[in-house]
Amino acid sequence: MSSNRRKNANLLPVAKILLVAFVLLTIGGGALYYVNAKNEVHRYGQRKKELERELLAVATKDEVVTSRISKLCSYEALRKRQSLEREAFAKLVPVADTLVVRLSDRVFSPAESQLRHVSNPQPPR
């Protein structure tokens, strides 16, 4: 007679196996997820670094252009251009008193509102 008299001797403990498998899968899955997440963090870190470099490059270009603009617009540059290209600029005429027309604040009557020639009295030539 067989010493093994239990009815369910050859049955597999499926529940336990499933449980162990579930735990192992969870741990394994978690570990894989962790590795994947870490890799993503590194990827995003690299992307962040690239974006920082791009931003720095753009900011640097902006500074270079701003610096060039300030040099070109400076009084020193304007003076140099004026001295080199004297012929190309309209000559500046000193504002003499005879070239300035002065108007008074008085109110004009309708009779006076017609167009008139206005100038300062000219000195006798």
Partner: protein, 582 residues
């Protein structure tokens, strides 16, 4: 097996829990690096935001010779783009360093080829090497300080050294505001030396330097500089200074010195050209100082503007020396006319009436002998000896501006005091400071020092100074069409190194303000040893016309409304200028 497992577990807990902090610190020390985040230096602008000092990004070209495979191609490209001799570049690329452990000579991993390479040159170089697939070169970001206006306002703006530290001018006096604060970041690198962004830890961002806004208006500065250049050509003085101020607030609107220098090309510039003479040079102010003595005598109620003083017909003996009136011998002159005619004898007698101690007190009250406090480095206080060190004739020389060492800044500030009806202010050259986002973080408001003389005393002095700029006075050529000008000329003989005074060397000046009744501008023009040619050797003939030209252009820029009454006055003075002896 159980005991082994127990030991193993014990050791695990000890390492991971008990000594975790210790090992974390070790790992941190080994793998982490501290990166500095460089702060950008702040800029300097004029009152309207015109940039006077900015930063321009540049690159340093660095080579890692250990990875260079085609050194000839690299050297040729570097030599061409960086405009360096090929031999010099090859020499640098061949630089070897001794390995610490083996003592073997290895190619250097960090060879600086050139600093301050412009961005466009660096880009072109990188593109060429990329195309030819040449490895081993990399760039380091850097910045250079650029002064777009070159030599204009050079003494005020100043410059920085290679370490970006302010050495002169506002760059130095405002260095703490301009330099900003570097940030830092702790991070880790992988085996290839690349930063692992994911492992960034502590980070403190950099705080860029603040922007310093000056009170100077570059349009007015341009006017002053162009007239200074014209004066240098015409009179060829040893040096010249011009200061333009707003008397009501003490703001310095323009400041120019000659000789000067280009801030972008400082190599080989002599020290004399770098000196801000407006605040560092000491001169005997001459007749412009008579205003101080007269104000003191009026304030002490020893005299009134109409009090008559006998001026000895141009020859006054005192203390064994003879004092002369340089323009003309006068009999009786009112106190008002002592200023108008610039009588040495008249003002000497006012000084004698005041007495040594009171005269000294008024000189100090006007700010002479002390620094004005303008926000520029290197300012000197001038020299005014205490009465205990005066000789017996000092009481006659000091009132007319001799035996006194004053800076041009002190002279113009004293004239501003009269323009302000007796209020002495601290000159301001910095208007405000703004941070990188544009928010104002500091302002420098008007600073009143003291009421030197009462407005009732200052008013008759202004009346006298108005008459100076007339046919009666010594500065008719300082007139400005449409405006009433008040001012004083100065013609001071220079001290001879062997003692006494030089007969042919002068410091000529004119200090004046306009409009006289509500001053908007105060200006000092000073020339040291001008060569006048056919022009008479007086402040009224050399400095006063320069003042007039500057003021005429300045009032137009400032949109000051002219007074038609003073056009007629100007017309008659102009006739006198052409037809008369003056």
């Amino acid at each position: 097996m159980a005991s082994g497992f127990t030991v193993f577990s014990f050791r695990l807990v000890e390492l991971q829990v008990a000594k975790s902090d210790h090992y974390k610190a070790l790992a941190f020390e080994k793998h982490s690096i501290r990166q500095t985040i460089n702060a950008r230096r702040g800029g300097i602008t004029d009152i309207n935001g015109v940039p006077l000092a900015t930063n321009e990004p540049v690159k340093s070209v660095v080579v890692d010779a250990s990875v260079v495979k085609n050194a000839d191609v690299l050297a040729e490209a570097l030599s061409r783009h960086l405009e360096m001799p090929l031999v010099a570049v090859r020499e640098r690329l061949n630089k070897k360093v001794e390995a610490a452990e083996s003592g073997e000579k290895k190619p250097s991993r960090y060879i600086v080829i050139k600093h301050e390479v412009p961005e466009n040159v660096a880009e072109a170089l990188a593109a060429e090497l990329d195309k030819k697939k040449v490895r081993g070169m990399f760039f380091e970001q850097d910045a250079v300080r650029v002064y777009p206006n070159g030599s204009m306002l050079s003494h005020v703006v100043g410059y920085v050294n290679r370490e970006n530290k302010g050495m002169e001018g506002v760059e130095r006096s405002m260095d703490e505001w301009l330099k900003g604060h570097d940030g830092f970041r702790y991070t880790e690198r992988n085996r290839r030396g690349n930063e692992m962004v994911a492992f960034r830890r502590m980070e403190s961002p950099a705080r860029d330097g603040a922007t310093v806004r000056l009170t100077v208006d570059m349009a007015l500065q341009d006017i002053v500089e162009s007239e200074m250049d014209a004066a240098m050509k015409q009179f060829r003085p040893k040096m010249a200074t011009c200061i333009l101020m707003r008397p009501a607030t003490g703001e310095v609107l323009a400041m120019a010195n000659r000789p000067h220098y280009d801030l972008n090309q400082r190599d080989g510039v002599p020290v004399e050209s770098r000196k801000n003479r407006a605040i560092m040079d000491m001169i005997e102010p001459g007749s412009t100082f008579k205003v101080v003595t007269t104000a003191g005598a009026l304030e002490s109620r020893l005299v009134r503007p109409e009090t008559s003083i006998y001026c000895e017909h141009g020859r006054f003996t005192y203390g064994g020396t003879i004092l002369h009136d340089s323009h003309h011998g006068y009999g009786d002159l009112s106190v008002n006319d002592i200023i108008v005619k610039s009588s040495n004898i008249g003002v000497a007698k006012l000084g004698i009436m005041l007495g040594e101690q009171r005269l000294y007190d008024y000189i100090r009250r006007f700010g002479f002998g002390d620094r004005t406090g303008v926000q520029l480095p290197g300012e000197i206080g001038g020299i005014i000896h205490p009465p205990s060190r005066w000789s017996k004739i000092s009481i006659t020389h000091i009132p007319m501006g001799h035996e006194v060492g004053a800076t041009p800044m002190q002279v113009v500030n004293a004239m501003c005091t009269i323009a302000n009806r007796g209020k002495l202010l601290t000159p301001q050259i910095v208007s405000s400071i703004t941070d990188a986002s544009g928010a104002v973080i500091a302002t420098f408001p008007r600073a009143e020092v003291r009421q030197v003389v009462t407005p009732e005393v200052a008013e008759p002095i202004v009346t006298a100074l108005k008459e100076v700029v007339s046919k009666k006075g010594t500065a008719a050529l300082a007139h400005v069409p449409g405006f009433e000008v008040a001012g004083k000329t100065g013609t001071a003989q220079k001290i001879s190194p062997g003692g006494g005074y030089e007969h042919s060397k002068y410091v000529v000046s004119f200090a004046g303000f306009l409009p006289a009744d509500k001053p908007e501008l105060c200006c000092l023009v000073l020339l040291d040893e001008p060569i006048p040619g056919s022009t008479p050797y007086y402040g009224g003939y050399i400095a006063a016309p320069i003042f007039s030209k500057i003021a005429q252009r300045a009032v137009r820029h400032l949109n000051l409304l002219p007074n038609p009454d003073f056009l007629k006055v100007a017309g008659s003075l102009a006739k006198n200028e052409n037809g008369g002896k003056r």
